[in-house]
Symmetry: C2
Subunit: 363 residues, 2 copies
């Protein structure tokens, strides 16, 4: 009985799904058990659908493999990547919850400087439930955190902040480097715990990593599309970057906030830099054009929903990035398909909601 009081209180346990893309048994969940067991998991199985993925006992989950995705989305399944962790965004689409946390299966529980296990999910939820400050920079970082506030000179009219759409967490141990940096610095490890959460200012883009990421589906979900990567596509490892550029432009347009910083997870394993270089090299060129495109992208006042913004952005992608490579025309089309599929699965009519989207459901 005494032990029960040490258990973390699961915040928002009926309002949040944990989305995990994987190709292997989910033994990594054992370490997360104290923090994740109260939540529902959505597992997106990549690769061979005949393979059986083992999930440790006691977790509440639904699992989708490629056959499930094809069955549920029909021809629209073309917008969901295969043989790339970009497939995780299918989990965002089938969730019926307000919040999503997504984590990679090579990420473990990190420790804070005092040696205590970090409850990453709890910190993400705190980040999402408190406002952001995209319109002016607060030098003492998150002003809503206990023991902190807005500093002298911070305009009072901006102290209510903006609703937070996204919480981007970081990684101890293996940093999220690109292939060239991995090749140049094979032994570099991130050992520095920076005790801060901050809002990425309006108008500023950032490299969003999908390894340890939470967001409010209702506020930004339809923009959290991880693009076309992997099998049959000319690039990989730009899935989360693509989503990051899109969600930032749309959050800025809609007056929403994006935070980065705490919580840390422990990233255990560096991926193969040679394989990564093959996946990335076109992206390394293309991002030099893509980023100026997103930096200067503006959306019309008529686009007031995330879906409208995303469709408008898809047209600009085709028009402005299409000339770089036919891939971007295909991607622009896939962005539209994604929104159509999202709306199909998320329309709140009785007819739709009575048709469960579940693949394999288990308890």
């Amino acid at each position: 009985m005494a032990e029960a009081s040490h258990k973390p209180v699961p915040l928002l346990k009926d309002e949040l799904d944990i989305v995990i893309p994987t190709i292997r048994n989910l033994d990594f969940l054992e370490m997360w058990r104290p923090f994740f067991q109260s939540y529902h998991l959505i597992i997106v199985q990549d690769g061979d659908p005949t393979k059986v993925i083992k999930v440790p006992e006691g977790f509440d989950y639904e699992l989708y493999n490629r056959n499930d995705i094809n069955r549920i989305l029909g021809p629209k399944a073309s917008c969901i990547s295969f043989k790339d962790s970009a497939c995780r965004c299918f989990g965002y689409m089938v969730s019926k919850k307000k919040y999503i946390y997504t984590i990679d299966d090579d990420c473990f529980v990190a420790k804070d400087p005092s040696g205590k296990d970090i409850n990453a999910l709890e910190q993400h939820i705190k980040n999402l439930l408190t406002p952001s400050t995209p319109h002016f920079f607060n030098t003492l970082y998150d002003p809503y955190r206990e023991g902190a506030d807005f500093v002298r000179g911070y305009p009072f009219s901006l102290r209510e902040g903006a609703p937070t759409a996204v919480s981007h967490g970081l990684w101890l141990n293996i940093p999220d480097y690109d292939a060239p940096t991995q090749l140049v610095k094979p032994r570099e490890r991130n050992t520095r715990y920076v005790d801060a959460v901050l809002t990425i200012p309006k108008g500023t883009l950032f490299p969003m990593c999908g390894m340890n990421l939470a967001f409010d589906r209702e506020l930004i979900g339809p923009a959290m599309y991880f693009g076309l990567m992997g099998d049959g596509q000319p690039i990989g490892r730009y899935d989360d970057m693509w989503a990051g550029w899109c969600i930032k432009v749309i959050s800025d347009h809609l007056g929403l906030g994006v935070k980065t910083g705490l919580p840390y997870i422990w990233h255990s394993k560096a991926s193969n830099p040679f394989v990564n270089l093959k996946k990335e090299y076109k992206g390394i060129f293309w991002q030099e054009d893509i980023i100026p495109f997103f930096q200067s992208a503006t959306l019309s006042k008529d686009s007031t929903s995330v879906q409208q913004c995303y469709i408008e952005l898809s047209k600009q992608v085709k028009e402005k990035l299409g000339p770089i490579d036919p891939y971007f025309t295909k991607l622009g089309d896939a962005m539209v398909t994604w929104i159509e599929a999202w709306d199909e699965l998320n329309t709140p009519s009785d007819a739709k909601s009575s048709k469960p989207a579940n693949g394999v459901a288990a308890k």
Copy 2:
């Protein structure tokens, strides 16, 4: 002899002046002796010029009181505030060095989490000597720091960074709060050491505090004017804020970077919130208009020097902020006077440089 090896190596000791505004004896320097003694100090004595300010033995300094300022600048001395720490900017003007560090006399040496004394000046110099990243956000903070780098998705074309103009340091113990926040949270102390330096992105304003601040005089000096505050003026405690808005707009225009974060100093004493409220209350209203003004301010391509930018900004201040209160017309004029005085003291002609600007010089 063994002790000598523990002494900090004074970086840039012939290229940096430490500027200290004060109305009292500078006993606080005793604690800074190991870090400051190799540098030249410029002391700007505020208030009664007949008062004798004691400086601990062994420091190399020059000291200017109001009579010195009036004598050196003549009628242009009107641009230098009196009975307000804004007078410190006179020290920036008379310095002949490339770098300035300015610190308040109620700031002491802070300790890092390991208990070690923080060499604030050394960290500022590191910040100034490494580039900034104003055009894209790096989620692992300063990419030039040992053990860190640019993360995946950071455009390679931006990895050279931009020259750093300003390094804004923070405060442990008494946070830099405005009067209303001081009144509401009289016991709040900043105990959180955030181990990070980051660039404030282009297009984003921040509340710059003058308590613990370093900058490159050659890159941004003429914009580091602390305005008209204190005696005879309707506001106080907005001197550093004013400078912060101006330097940020001009740094963005000129492609320079502004960093904030480390180093911390220990801020010992909260100023009186009732006195502060009286100084601040007009600023609290005015900043609601001033900040949108600076957020939308743009400078012409023809303004390629800091002086040109500053003169252009002064015209916009008079035009756009003048209607709020006659104070801003006066401030716009003072901005021009400041530049004239700056250029007079800093023109590299033989005639000028042979006329020393020194007040009381001592060793």
